[in-house]
């Protein structure tokens, strides 16, 4: 008869796929969770479900057609994408847009930041199980979309930037209408800020989830409101002072604690800053003609390369454009903030509850269509670091 000497305990590590189609995620992304009970041991971030090959497409089209293709990289932040690309082209051509055009560019980008942050705050509320707040926030976001329609001609796709300026001017009637909308939206944002601070549901779900220490935020090179939520004061608008950001006064908002709640609070702070900037721009708009004649722009570009960076609503967005002469770019390289924030942030899920995963992901403001361009390196490596069950714990002693 065999004598029982050892008791082998094998902890159950359950592999739970969250996505690519999942009620909690609005975009196709696969988070492979390895959970021990309710606690997460490890997360694999799998991307590549939304690859459209836009970088390659830009090489096949002319510089000017690319401006409109680049706008379709991301629906929400299309103005910042085109601004970054257009500025890269302006660096190659050595063109400086007039001051009024610079102000109007900043205006469109700040309106975009407003509705982008309102969207992610609404989604955060929805993921926390507070759908009423989601509906109310989305209702008021629609006013910002209206002001963007007044300024650019469409609710979402601005198509507002052009080499040497912007594509349409603003008159006094439009200015006063946008100011009215902004005044109404500001009151509402103050109200929602109070709800986020006081509400039980939001506080219990958001506080202490997905905490990132300042050292980790730097080590994993996170960007945007995520890194500012961990107390690190970094903002391309201040560091680069591109377009009219050197003239317009604003503050960089930071929070110290680094959890999902801190990131939401950073976004609320930036909403107030954006509103103040919009108000400043509309009252201090320089005179002049911001609209270049698109028929007279140079069709062929000189040989050269340029690099431009903007602070998108989600963080630092950079474009590298290389021209080998002619009318098509040799290479366009896009590095979006979501790529850093989503692919590098797998460590934040560890030791959290399964139910908190959507909230943590939501607090990073994922933009999957943005980040799907640079995924190739991940796929080529194709290495899965899986630990066999018997090694996880309960090893025979």
């Amino acid at each position: 008869m065999v004598e029982v000497t050892h008791l082998i305990e094998i902890p159950m590590a359950v592999e739970i796929p969250v996505g690519p189609q999942h009620p909690a995620l609005h975009e196709p992304l696969l988070l492979k969770l390895y959970a021990d009970g309710e606690r997460i041991i490890k997360v694999d971030v799998m991307t590549g479900y939304n690859h459209r090959g836009i970088e390659k497409l830009t090489e096949k089209n002319t510089f000017y057609r690319d401006i409109f293709i680049i706008g379709r990289v991301c629906g929400i932040c299309n103005a910042v994408h085109t601004n970054c690309y257009v500025r890269a082209l302006e660096y190659i051509l050595d063109v400086d847009p007039p001051p009024r055009a610079k102000y109007l560019r900043v205006l469109s980008m700040e309106l975009e930041r407003l509705h982008s942050h309102m969207l992610v705050l609404a989604v955060t509320a929805e993921l926390a199980g507070y759908e009423t707040l989601f509906m109310y926030l989305m209702k008021d976001r629609e006013y910002v979309m209206k002001s963007k329609e007044i300024l650019t001609g469409q609710r979402v796709m601005a198509d507002y930037m052009m080499v040497g300026g912007v594509r349409r001017d603003i008159d006094e009637v439009k200015t006063s209408r946008i100011l009215d909308i902004i005044k109404r939206v500001e009151e509402r944002i103050k109200y929602y800020h109070k709800i986020f601070q006081e509400d039980v549901t939001i506080n219990r779900r958001l506080r202490d989830t997905g905490r990132i220490k300042p050292r980790e935020a730097l080590a994993y090179s996170l960007v945007g409101p995520v890194v500012r939520g961990s107390g690190i004061k970094t903002d391309i608008r201040i560091q680069d002072k591109y377009d009219a950001y050197g003239d317009i006064p604003f503050n960089v908002i930071t929070e110290d604690y680094g959890d999902s709640y801190a990131r939401a609070m950073v976004r609320f702070g930036e909403l107030y800053e954006s509103i103040n900037m919009v108000r400043y721009i509309l009252t201090h708009l320089p005179q002049g003609n911001p609209v270049p004649d698109e028929r007279k722009l140079p069709r062929r570009f000189p040989v050269g390369e340029s690099y431009a960076a903007v602070e998108a609503p989600r963080g630092e967005l950079t474009y590298y454009v290389s021209s080998s002469g002619g009318d098509k770019p040799y290479r366009v390289k896009i590095r979006t903030p979501s790529l850093n924030n989503i692919v590098n942030s797998a460590f934040t899920y560890v030791d959290q509850m399964i139910a908190d995963v959507p909230i943590i992901l939501g607090s990073f403001d994922p933009c999957i269509s943005c980040m799907e361009r640079a995924v190739i390196t991940d796929l080529r490596r194709g290495v899965r670091y899986q630990v066999p069950l018997k090694e996880l714990g309960g090893v025979r002693k």
């Binding site: 089209n61 002319t62 000017y64 057609r65 401006i67 379709r72 709800i195 039980v200 698109e294 028929r295």
Partner: protein, 133 residues
């Protein structure tokens, strides 16, 4: 720490809904909203620049039917036909046109089960020649 939204929700019961019953009630659109655009055949010179510059390849240059009058500047007798299913409404064609031939509208209701394009609209800007050309 009580939800502050309760007051808002009770207030919301007595006010009109924000959503509108779309086909019955029309959406309010700005007069300069980038909607359906088409070429005015009285002005168009058939230079094809809009078709070259279109980022979505939505424009094809088509021959003007013989029974329609074309201006003398349009020697090749071609005009741009915009496929609105492909069009992204960036208005690049409108801004690059050397003779400002494009007519812009704020029409956005373009959903259809058949192909929607601009040939009928463009041809309506010109007249039929008496007895053909």
């Amino acid at each position: 720490m009580r939800p502050g939204l309760i007051k808002e929700i009770i207030k919301g019961i007595f006010v009109k809904p924000v959503t509108i019953q779309y086909p019955k009630e029309q959406t309010l659109i700005e007069p300069d909203f980038r909607g359906r655009q088409y070429a005015d055949l009285k002005k168009c010179i058939g230079c094809s620049l809009c078709a070259v510059e279109c980022p979505a390849n939505a424009i094809t240059m088509t021959k003007i039917p013989d029974e329609y009058v074309a201006p003398k500047t349009n020697a090749r007798r071609i005009y741009p036909v915009v496929d609105y299913f492909r069009c992204v409404f960036c208005y690049r064609c409108v801004t690059v046109c050397p003779v400002n031939a494009y007519l812009v509208t704020n029409e956005y209701r373009l959903a259809s089960s058949t192909i929607v394009e601009s040939s009928e609209l463009s041809l309506s800007t010109t007249t039929k020649a008496a007895g053909g050309v």
